[in-house]
């Protein structure tokens, strides 16, 4: 019985962790290209879920059309955000950018509240909700979708960043912006791309998790913060480390809630964040920053 329980906690934790991983990668991509922590990342997750709902109910689109539609609109919001809030900055100091992204997230959240109201909304699952038994634990078909889509996105990410020119250009920006600019990379365009990719990924994360958790105008706050934790654990890399960071976070959260106390579920995520920042701020897998003197 004990093993079954642990298996259940682990499976639930892995699916939540996959979502945190997707959000965390979004944070990392923008951070690597621009040096900004985009605290509005969680709001793209929220937009993905709510826009899918609108496409399904108002426009009466079938699911396979609603999802790309929602992702497209979220990406558009991301582009607008970058153009209107980030690009015009004359003095892009970190503190300015952080405050702007936090302000942007509050704005997006407020607009969402006006458009969709404060209610929670249910989104239909992609392929039904008959539980599937694995060992002594059960998961839903939606969990399988989450795992599959997360793997696909990570694979696409890997291909993009390591095989395409623009992907390599973005990596160049993350290593050294000035040098990248000097070799002819349009850094401003890279910033735009990073926002496009992150908002699209955030939207996808929101869409695949909405049938499980229902969606409302304020789901972005907690998800964004936990995704941020995942990114920190992974050392702000846009690859496997953040994914593993997210999965670890999800599983630890689930095990903690089940085995220790359910009231402390959120606390566990933030305690982990604090521990990482105190003990190993470069993340579990990052290399410590060193400066030449």
């Amino acid at each position: 019985m004990q093993f079954d329980q642990i298996l259940q906690y682990t499976l639930s934790g892995l699916s939540t962790g996959a979502i945190y991983a997707l959000i965390g990668i979004g944070f990392s991509i923008i951070y690597n290209a621009t040096g900004i922590i985009n605290f509005a990342q969680g709001e793209f997750v929220m937009l993905g879920g709510l826009l899918t709902l609108s496409c399904l109910e108002l426009l009466k689109l079938p699911l396979w059309a609603a999802v790309p539609c929602a992702v497209a609109v979220s990406t558009l919001v991301g582009i607008l955000f970058e153009r209107l809030a980030i690009r015009p900055l004359r003095q892009p100091t970190p503190i300015n950018l952080v405050i702007i992204t936090i302000g942007g997230s509050i704005l997006i959240r407020g607009l969402a509240m006006l458009v969709w109201g404060k209610d929670t909304h249910a989104v239909p699952p992609f392929s039904g909700d008959t539980p599937i038994a694995i060992g002594g634990a059960t998961i839903l078909p939606q969990h399988l979708w989450i795992f599959a889509i997360t793997l696909i996105i990570i694979f696409i990410n890997k291909v993009y960043f390591y095989r395409t020119i623009s992907g390599k250009a973005m990596r160049a920006c993350s290593y050294n912006r000035r040098a990248a600019g000097l070799v002819g990379i349009d850094v401003k365009r890279m910033v735009l791309f990073s926002f496009i990719i992150s908002s699209a990924m955030g939207a996808v994360a929101g869409i695949i998790v909405a049938p499980l958790t229902m969606t409302a105008y304020d789901v972005g706050v907690m998800l964004g913060l936990k995704g941020f934790c995942a990114a920190i654990i992974g050392g702000m890399s846009s690859g496997a480390s953040t994914v593993i960071g997210g999965l670890i976070l999800g599983v630890l959260e689930s095990l903690g809630a089940g085995l220790i106390s359910s009231g402390y579920k959120d606390a566990i995520a933030f305690i982990i964040l604090l521990l990482i920042l105190f003990i190993r701020p470069q993340g579990l897998f990052g290399k410590a920053d060193s400066e030449r003197v």
Binding site: Q5, Y9, T120, A122, P131, T213, G258, S262
Partner: protein
């Protein structure tokens, strides 16, 4: 230019004064509702119901020739704001009574203000500690969570399902319910085999439910307000848990059925009679006001009149009855309220007395079950 202005001023003054001299001063009733914020599902229907019934009273001529004027403020569910607005209602708007607030937390914060200023407060929130110990100027119209717990336990005792697991939300409503569940267990022969909590914004309770699955409880009681219980209902289905699931009156609205979908079937909970108004026997004294309320609300707001809006309806009607009996100062209203006997309201049949400012008994709740996406009364 000068002459024209003079004529306009004189005309305006005449109109102004004549208008004032014809109308008797309206009776100002204050209201504090959490229309926005986390308790909006309470505050919005409450404000809508209050406006609706006051409009109707005024259309029928008001009370003793005077119109009622509702001065309603939005507290956004914040206790500090509620206290500020209560002071504003009393000092600036000079109301004779205050209806609301919507949540127990806000009510407890406002009580010292109304007790000091000696203005009657008719709260729309459920916490037992609002009227127990009794306070001279405080009444409430929402059923005690103690009564809701009693209804569930009574049923469990009857069906011999006495081993229960509790899963409550970690806010004021959940904490109060949990307290009641624990303190009344012994009285009904119930044993609590596990006691877990979840956060109001949590989106996955499979961890807590997996733990509960291991305890061999015969019933799971979940105490919270949307969306948590809907997630729990879905998780229960996902984990294949067959243990009967009971909810609190916090989710006695169609929204819960909508959110939980298929997973809501078979869930039982105590509810105010308003959700099953159409299937009540004709002999039930509440049937007439309930049906009138449901149909009125549907006509005015194109939405289902629910259990929460009913609390505000009851508060306004109780005040109206007190005013009809000749009270027009705060102290007289309070005395008249205390004399209320057998008032058939939406929440139940009210009987106030100097020792009881909550006014409702066990018949205020019925145990209902979700069948085919609708409510049926459990026999």
């Amino acid at each position: 230019m000068n002459v024209k202005v003079m004529i306009l001023v004189i005309a305006a003054a005449t109109l102004l004064f004549s208008a004032v001299s014809f109308a008797a001063a309206p009776i100002k009733i204050g209201a504090l509702f959490a229309v926005t914020g986390p308790a909006a599902f309470l505050g919005e229907p409450e404000r809508n119901s209050a406006r609706m019934v006051i409009d109707e009273i005024n259309k029928a001529g008001g009370v003793k020739g005077r119109k009622l004027e509702l001065v309603a403020y939005d507290t956004a569910g914040d206790a500090t704001k509620a206290v500020q607005l209560a002071t504003k209602l009393i000092k600036d708007d000079k109301v004779v009574a205050i209806i609301g607030p919507s949540t127990t937390g806000e009510t407890m914060a406002v009580i010292p203000v109304t007790e000091k200023e000696q203005i009657p407060l008719i709260s729309c929130s459920a916490g037992s500690k609002i009227t127990d110990p009794i306070k001279k100027w405080v009444f409430k119209t929402a059923q005690n969570d103690a009564l809701a717990v009693g209804k569930i336990y009574e049923y469990l005792q009857k069906t011999k399902q006495t081993k229960v697991s509790i899963l409550s939300v970690s806010d004021g409503f959940g904490a109060s319910g949990r307290e009641q569940l624990k303190s009344q267990a012994a009285k009904y022969g119930i044993t609590i085999v596990s006691d877990d909590t979840y956060g109001p914004k949590d989106t996955d309770m499979t961890a807590q439910l997996t733990k509960i699955r291991g305890t061999h409880a015969q019933a799971i009681i979940c105490w919270g307000t949307n969306p948590g219980p809907a997630v729990i209902a879905k998780n229960v289905r996902q984990l294949g848990i067959k243990t009967p699931l009971f909810m609190s009156h916090g989710v006695s609205s169609k929204k819960f059925i909508e959110l939980a979908g298929e997973a809501a079937e078979g869930i039982k909970l105590p509810s105010g009679k308003v959700v099953v108004a159409d299937v009540l026997p004709g002999s039930d004294k509440q049937k007439k006001p309930l049906m009138a309320f449901v149909m009125d609300y549907q006509k005015h707001y194109k939405a289902e009149g629910d259990h929460f809006g009913g609390h505000a309806w009851d508060a306004v009607m109780l005040l109206r009855n007190a005013l009809e009996n000749g009270a027009d100062t705060a102290a007289a209203i309070r005395d008249q309220l205390e004399k209320t006997r057998s008032f058939a309201g939406i929440g139940g049949s009210f009987n106030y007395s100097p020792q009881d400012h909550a006014g409702l008994g066990k018949d205020a709740f019925v145990l209902v079950e979700v069948k085919n996406k609708d409510w049926v009364i459990v026999k």
